[in-house]
């Protein structure tokens, strides 16, 4: 009895519940908060857990009844097989190339443009900024018809490139369309928070605008750049609809398409789908676990601040 109480006491101390004032009130309040949050986290992680254990079950055990919620014979064979039986290394490579190129373009252009919008008054800067916000509001899916026809038969550069349908370039061009306005917006808001006295100091020290930007301002903007880069990468990595419309073979198809291909008309290959799904989900899970604060700051900078 006494040991039980002391463990409870330790638990209360560990959770920071050991407050002298209004002890019972505070403890009850916090226990309820922990309980609700714990329940929520448990419920939202359960589906991820279920698809994970599906991915490490032997293919034959996936359709066992009753369903086992704890894998008894874990195996990596599903992961090995999707690389053997399907060109998963190509899908992964396509995803990597498309997402990183998009990220580089968006971060580069977004950073310099965001900086100019934050610092300089130039003709039409309000109108241009407003058009960037407007561009964010356009529902991408409304544009699948024009994007399909433009990529199949590119205007101006068509004689040079031929059709861009089923190429990574088509996806990179399209994904910059989603992400560049957002990148400009996040970076503009970020630079707004960097004191302008730093620019002035650089000017006094004899730096040109370019030198001041590269040497003084850019290093200050690292967290904003990280936030923009992570969001642009995740958005492009996860995109499905335009990849579905603009590609048809493994020379350009990305992981989300590869995962959806496990669904045949009447039959779904769940074990392999789960393995492919886990690979497609990996960057999201890793970024979420290790760079959560950048994602949050990027989102709130891009969305909330005015």
């Amino acid at each position: 009895m006494s040991t039980k109480q002391s463990t409870l006491g330790q638990l209360i101390a560990a959770l920071g519940l050991d407050t002298e004032n209004e002890w019972s009130h505070v403890v009850r309040e916090r226990l309820v908060a922990y309980g609700l949050l714990g329940l929520y986290v448990f419920v939202i992680w359960f589906p991820i857990y279920f698809i994970f254990i599906t991915s490490i079950k032997p293919t034959s055990a996936v359709l066992d009844i009753p369903i086992s919620f704890f894998p008894t014979q874990p195996t990596v064979s599903n992961y090995v097989e999707i690389f053997q039986n399907r060109p998963f290394e190509l899908y992964t490579l396509n995803s990597l190339i498309v997402a990183s190129t998009t990220t580089i373009i968006c971060v580069t252009l977004g950073t310099v443009t965001g900086y100019s919008f934050s610092r300089y008054d130039f003709i039409g800067n309000k109108a241009l900024l407003l058009s960037i916000v407007g561009a964010r509001m356009i529902p991408p899916i409304a544009l699948i018809v024009p994007f399909f026809s433009i990529m199949s038969n590119p205007p101006l550069i068509g004689w040079l490139t031929g059709s861009l349908y089923d190429t990574r370039i088509a996806l990179i061009l399209t994904y910059t369309f989603f992400n560049l306005p957002f990148a400009v917006w996040i970076m503009k808001n970020y630079f707004d928070g960097v004191p302008e006295s730093l620019d002035e100091q650089a000017r006094i020290d004899g730096c040109s605008r370019w030198e001041g930007f590269v040497k003084i301002i850019l290093p200050m903007a690292k967290p904003g750049i990280a936030a923009t880069a992570i969001l642009a990468f995740i958005f492009s990595w996860n995109e499905f609809v335009f990849a579905l419309v603009l590609t048809s073979s493994e020379q350009a198809q990305t992981l989300p398409i590869a995962v959806s291909l496990f669904v045949a008309d009447d039959f779904v290959d769940w074990a392999h789908l789960a393995a492919g799904g886990m690979i497609a989900a990996l960057p999201g899970i890793l970024f979420g676990l290790f760079f959560q604060q950048y994602i949050v700051s990027g989102l709130t900078q891009g969305a909330v601040k005015e």
Binding site: L109, Y120, G277, G288, Q292
Partner: protein
Amino acid sequence: MSTEKQSLRRKLDRLFVPLTVGPTMLWIAGIIVYPTLKLLWSSVFWTNPITSQKEFVGLRNFERLIFADGGGGVLGLAPDFVSITWHTIVYVGLSVSISFALGLGIALLLNKDLKGRGWFRTAVIVPWILPYVMSGLMWRWMFQSEYGAINGLLTQSGLLSDKIAFFSDGTLSMMALVIADIWVFTPFIIIILLAGLQNVPEQLYDAAEVDGAGRVSRFVNVTYPFLKPSILVALTIRIIFDIRALDLVWVMTQGGPGKSTEVWASWLYRTAQVFNRPGEGAALGVVLLAVTFLIVAVLYRVFGESPY
């Protein structure tokens, strides 16, 4: 030599703004303005699916989609238009309102001074950053009638004697979609509202508590005024995204069974790509564009803020 260098420096400095803003604006013009004009242009043509010949039809694509040609639904509107709009309203309305309520609750809990708050925030954000396709397929697997986890939990624990065939019933399919959507997008609401909650000055809560204000009155009088801009952003982006998002619907139900979960996004995709009717697809795109701008305008009017 050095004066030449200096004058080059000055010239480059003068070009700072054009060189940093110009490429982005050109890019945006090429990749957004041109496709948008092309969308309007495509919407007034009919493409013969066999010969690929285009024929100018004016507004007949819109007419065919929105108004019944003799069929006669509600108010002379096409039955498909009415039912698909209704499904979209149900889908968006239910998932936005439920995920908003849930997200607000979790954000308020996470705003408390708890140990391990950062850990909870990390755990909470993950569903939103997984590929939507993978989330959709994951939920399809959860709701699968024979081997799915939900039926497994319900029957193996004895709560239910027969398994439920979720995807062979329209209402149940819609419910499955809404649950998946809530699962995916509640983190977004939590993050945006949590950022808003951090703007509320701590002293105001203390003052309100001294005045004897209860929990509800504290929320209405102290929290809400500070939270309003965040609520507006969260709702706007959530609603817009739900109307145009295809991923979850397409991989979970493909609009079925029958047409019971067909929404605007899946209708647009089916018309344009599956049925290869680009003119009508473009017309649907134009309507979607107009509806989106209308919703944004109404929301900003309701919340009394100007859009940026």
